[in-house]
Amino acid sequence: MRFSHRSREEAGMEKVRVLSARFDLPDSHTIEVYRRTGGYEALRKALTEMTPEQVIEEVKRSALRGRGGAGFSAGMKWSFVPKDSAKPKYVIANADESEPGTCKDRVLMEKDPHAVIEGILLAAYAVDAHLAFIYIRGEYWYLKERLERAIEEAREHGFVGANILGSGFSCEIIVHPGAGAYICGEETALMESLEGKRGYPRIKPPFPAVVGLYGCPTVINNVETLASVPPIILNGGDWFRRLGTEKSGGTRLFAVSGHVVRPGVYELPMGYPMKRMIEEDCGGIRGGKRLKAVIPGGSSAPILTAEEVEQCTLDFESLAALKSMLGSGAIIVMDEDTDIAQVVYRITKFYEHESCGWCVPCREGTRWMRKLLERLLRGEGRSRDIDLLYELARNIFGTTHCPLGDAAAWAVYPAIEKFRADFEKYVRAPAVSVSVERPLVSEIGRSWAV
């Protein structure tokens, strides 16, 4: 065998299926199956035994961190919603899953829509919201139907609508489809879109917890984050936390794509070794090839080399230490035949296409990088182009209005740092790049003015 088989005890990792527990059951999307397997018990428990504060406390204790990409503590987010606000409050489930490589929410909504609904209801109860939205990616039209059907079922059983389970708590859920813009997955752009406007990210602060949808306090969470809440309420935050690491609680769904034998969505505990996931769970690299690189968190995350993968575990801290991120948990595996320059070009094209156009560095920078890469890949590149590309990406990073620009930059400059040879091979006449210290126009102007 080529793969080293370590026992679970050796790894210290127990594979508990929390989110994917029902995935293999027939008709798992129906409320009958969901209730038979403990569904809506968490809601009942919360509504009858717990105060909203206790719900938030339990979620905080679970160390549940956002599964959409940013990894912010869900419990903290909920606790930011002002208690004394006279305005209505809203809960939004962000189901605009459009990060390249990410397909975990799709499976979740397809196989277990009621878990999402229950999570939404628990969040609504925790922050005293009576209207919730599921903003779903437009291409997921079939999931929109499934979710709407599930909401109807839940309503028939008294879990959605007025006076849920006789508790006096009411909550409606509306499913709203996006129109195909990646940027509308950014939480404030999503709200603009939901309000019927152009999907531009808003200026932050204020943050959505205070000024969100229609100017009202709003909790917005990823679908998977919300689906993790019912087990937390049922089994306790400490239980969930112990499934993962101290700072990244629980398990999460990883969408593995690329050159592995068995791509797919895997539920793994936080802190699970990435190498082991690739080799054991996914069956290793396709065709027995060698691993070259991994993009660990959807196309937005900086690329990792095979060496970095060796020491990497699937949790926020480990990836942060490698100057990358876990993002949406989409793991793109690339074998030794992959041309990283082509990968970077493909991703850059994506970001150029999806840039909303609001701010200068993202709008102009992504276009510039795409054009430069196109020329480079045509074989018309010069050696200094690689340095320029690197510098462009550095200049985009940290200066943009929203994280899309950072993502576009992260797709480029770490790749140049780690796989420069892949770019240089396109340069027709490789030469030593010379950096010349140039004066600024203003300085010249000053000397003229003297």
Binding site: G357, V360, R363, T366, L372, N395, T400, H401, S442
Partner: protein, 761 residues
């Protein structure tokens, strides 16, 4: 106001809490480059030029969105920030066409300055640029999308200043382009051109200015607009003896922001300090309606009727004839046979000299002006001060607009109303017979029967009359009670009185102000929405006699001395016949108008662009107009013409060849104008005259109410509310005496050619 201490570049600064960091830095002497920030517009944070380092924050922050808080430590100059700015200029220039040599903005372009101040020497962009064609968004406004840097100023200005919401963005990412509100992307709006004004680059340009001049070969003169009574300040750009544009951009900001202007520096005259009552706002007419002064139709020489035809003569001949004939008629028929009628468009100085001429030389009581509307009852009973535009924007909390259509008739007032709502959440209540466009900021609209404004005033003055008023207005008594509550319980109340308020209702509106003010010593101001730029000045200068009925011309009135007023156009054909009956008609005119073509002697006068003088706006503020053009014809100022005629009649009006002498006399003799001088006007911009206020006790309340009741009884109760909103351009797109000579307006609105002028009589 609560203040906080912040440290900017090591310097401790005290600033109002919550103020924008960019503004605090600017005032502290650390200007921060920016494109998309604009005073009083909502922050955009799109250009990323204003990035600064704030301690304890992970990344660079945009100074245009951060509000200062206690203990904030800010760095605005560092290597990191310099690099970020260089990068932003680099990005903006990457697809910018760099066609500066043919771009109208070249020389006054913020991107040029930005590149000069903060940019890199070399452009590193080596790829093909995405080129797009320019095209007209409207007959007035052109768009070159490739030049656009997407600062969104135009969109925000259209939303906030103009209330039109006519601009938006189409496309995404680098394909984003500014588009108009029509399906084909063109504009359907009032074409005020404020979007062009705020554009930092040459993306939006005005049809009338495109390819006509470069910023460095024009001379700018700050003057006052000659259209409505709001009295906007504007800058006339003149090149080669022609007015090429009017604009209102605040150049002081640029002056301070760009320390290293290598190529061109602004020409900043003392009067260009931007303390203008209109800030940076202009309307369609103010911006695009000034080129009548360039018109080839202008009268250039005096005309004298000989054998039924108007023929050119010398000034000497014309003036001699006028003096001779006036003396003849005065001797033959008495002084009351001569009527002097001025125009509410002329300067205070001209009108004052006309009045003085009429009273002292001709000795006639018939000295008046072509009043569009009789405001005399209002000003005779004025009980509270008039409301200035800055006060309206900054101080007024509750605003009641009685009828009218400010977006069309008084665009600056409409701008100030929107600003009052946007800036400090003033509540705006509109009473009117039909919905208004561009005023969606209103808190509430009271939809009344046409012509029933008097009944609304009756309800406001007298609670017992609610039922009567309700019948007349079609509002319910509850709605009227609500309106009473709004007006009577508010502080800082502004009453805007339009020309739909007439007769006794005008008196009542004037009185209401005083009654509100007396109640709890509240701040109450009134703003009468007069029509012409100097309607109030004409009243002040004493041209207040009743306009003679046309029938009297011939039997009683033998001579008409008309200064700039087109009576035929204004009052209809009755005056055509009247003029034909007169023995002598003297007309000072810019053009051969319908009236002038019937005159015996036509004297070519100067337009506002060639004159020095003052106008008094609807808030009683005196403002300068300044000579921007030298005379291309033989035209003379109106006051000089009269002075010379008087001299030929053996009288001295004391003008002594200087308009300043006349204003000095005005300041000495006209109540409220005391202490105003040209020097002060240059310094302060607008000076409000102190108008004598009538004490409430001096008003006969019951009599006014009786007259008001009678007016309410006379309201036509069959009239129904108008549900159609006022059409766009109702007031702005109609031809007038001056605007019909503006080629751009003629073409844009299809006014067609005027019927050929027949100079025979």
């Amino acid at each position: 106001m609560e203040t906080v201490k912040v440290i900017i570049n090591g310097k401790e600064i005290e600033a109002p809490k919550g103020k924008l960091l960019l503004e605090v830095c600017f005032e502290a002497g650390f200007p921060i480059p920016n494109f998309c920030y604009y005073k009083d517009l909502p922050p955009q944070a799109a250009c990323r030029m204003c990035l600064v380092r704030i301690e304890k924050m992970g990344r660079l922050q945009t100074a245009c969105t951060v509000r200062v808080s206690e203990g904030m430590v800010v760095t605005t100059e560092s290597e990191e920030i310099r690099r970020a700015r260089v990068a932003m200029v680099d990005f903006i220039l990457s697809n910018h066409p760099l066609d500066c040599p043919v771009c109208d903005k070249g020389g006054e372009c913020e991107l040029q300055w930005m590149a000069m101040n903060y940019g890199d020497l070399l452009a590193r962009f080596d790829e093909r640029k995405d080129a797009t064609d320019e095209y007209p968004l409207s007959p007035f406004i052109w768009l070159d999308p490739q030049r656009c840097i997407l600062c969104y100023r135009c969109i925000r200005v259209c939303d906030e200043w103009v209330g039109n919401h006519a601009l938006g963005v189409r496309g995404r990412g680098a394909q984003s382009v500014i588009v108009g509100n029509r399906p084909d992307g063109t504009l359907e709006c009032e074409n005020c051109g404020n979007c062009v004004e705020v554009c930092p680059v040459g993306a939006l340009t005005s049809t009338n200015f495109r390819f006509r001049a470069r910023p460095w070969d024009i001379r700018d003169t700050v003057t006052t607009c000659t259209y409505c009574s709001d009295g906007c300040q504007l800058r006339l750009s003149v090149r080669g003896g022609k007015v090429v544009r009017a604009w209102a951009k605040d150049l002081t900001k640029m002056e301070a922001e760009f320390t290293n202007k290598v190529l061109f520096s602004f020409r900043t005259a003392p009067e260009a300090r931007h303390n203008w009552i209109n800030e940076e706002f202009l309307c369609l007419k103010g911006r695009y309606g000034n080129e009548f002064v360039n018109s080839p139709d202008r009268l250039t020489v005096p005309l004298l009727r000989r054998n039924g035809r108007l023929e050119p003569v010398t000034w000497e001949e014309a003036l001699r004839q006028v003096a001779h004939r006036l003396l003849e008629i005065k001797r033959a028929y008495g002084a009351e046979s001569i009527a002097c009628i001025g125009s509410p468009r002329l300067t205070n100085e001209d009108l004052y000299v006309l009045a003085k001429f009429g009273r002292q030389v001709l000795e006639t009581p018939l000295v008046t002006h072509a009043m569009d509307f009789d405001w005399r009852p209002f000003f005779r009973r004025l009980t509270v001060p008039l409301l200035t535009q800055p006060e309206l924007r900054e101080r007024m909390r509750t605003i009641l607009l009685l009828g009218g259509n400010p977006p069309e008739q008084n665009p600056l007032t409409a701008y100030s109303l929107r600003a009052a709502v946007h800036r400090h959440g003033a509540r705006l209540f509109i009473v009117g017979a039909r919905p208004l466009g561009r005023m969606s900021v209103a808190t509430r609209f009271f939809h009344i029967r046409p012509g029933s404004e008097a009944a609304v005033l009756l309800a406001l003055l007298e609670e017992r009359e609610l039922d009567r008023a309700a019948r007349a207005t079609l509002l319910t008594p509850e709605e009227l009670r609500e309106l009473r509550r709004i007006v009577w319980e508010a502080d800082h109340v502004a009453l805007l009185v339009s020309r739909e308020v007439t007769g006794a209702a005008l008196e009542a509106a004037a009185m209401l102000g005083g009654m509100l003010a007396a109640e709890g010593h509240r701040t109450v101001r009134v703003l009468p929405l007069l029509r012409f730029n100097n309607s109030l000045g004409a009243l002040d200068m004493g041209l207040v006699a009743d306009l003679p009925a046309p029938e009297r011309v011939g039997p009683q009135i033998k001579a008409l001395y008309l200064m700039g007023c087109d009576l035929v156009r204004f009052y209809g054909d009755a005056w055509r016949d009247a003029l034909a009956r007169a023995e002598l008609v003297v007309a000072h005119e810019l053009f051969l108008t319908r009236t002038a073509e019937l005159a015996h002697i036509v004297l070519p006068a100067m337009s506002f662009a060639e004159l020095d003088g003052t106008f008094t706006n609807n808030a009683g503020q005196v403002q300068r107009i300044r000579r921007a053009l030298s005379a291309a014809g033989e035209w003379r100022p109106d006051w000089m013409i009269i002075d010379q005629i008087a001299a030929k009649m053996g009288a001295d009006l004391g003008c002594r060849y200087s308009v300043a002498n006349i204003f000095r006399e005005i300041a000495e003799t006209i109540p409220g104008y005391q202490g105003i001088t040209y020097a002060r006007l240059n310094e302060e911009g607008a000076i409000q005259t102190e108008r004598p206020l009538v004490p409430l006790t001096a008003l006969d309340r019951e009599k006014i109410l009786d007259r008001l009741r009678a007016q309410v009884e006379a309201i036509d109760l069959t009239a129904e509310r108008l549900t159609e909103p006022a059409p766009l351009g109702e007031g702005l797109f109609e031809p007038g005496t001056l605007t019909e000579h503006v080629p751009l307006l003629r073409e844009a609105f299809g006014w067609g050619a005027r019927e050929p002028v027949s100079a025979s009589r």
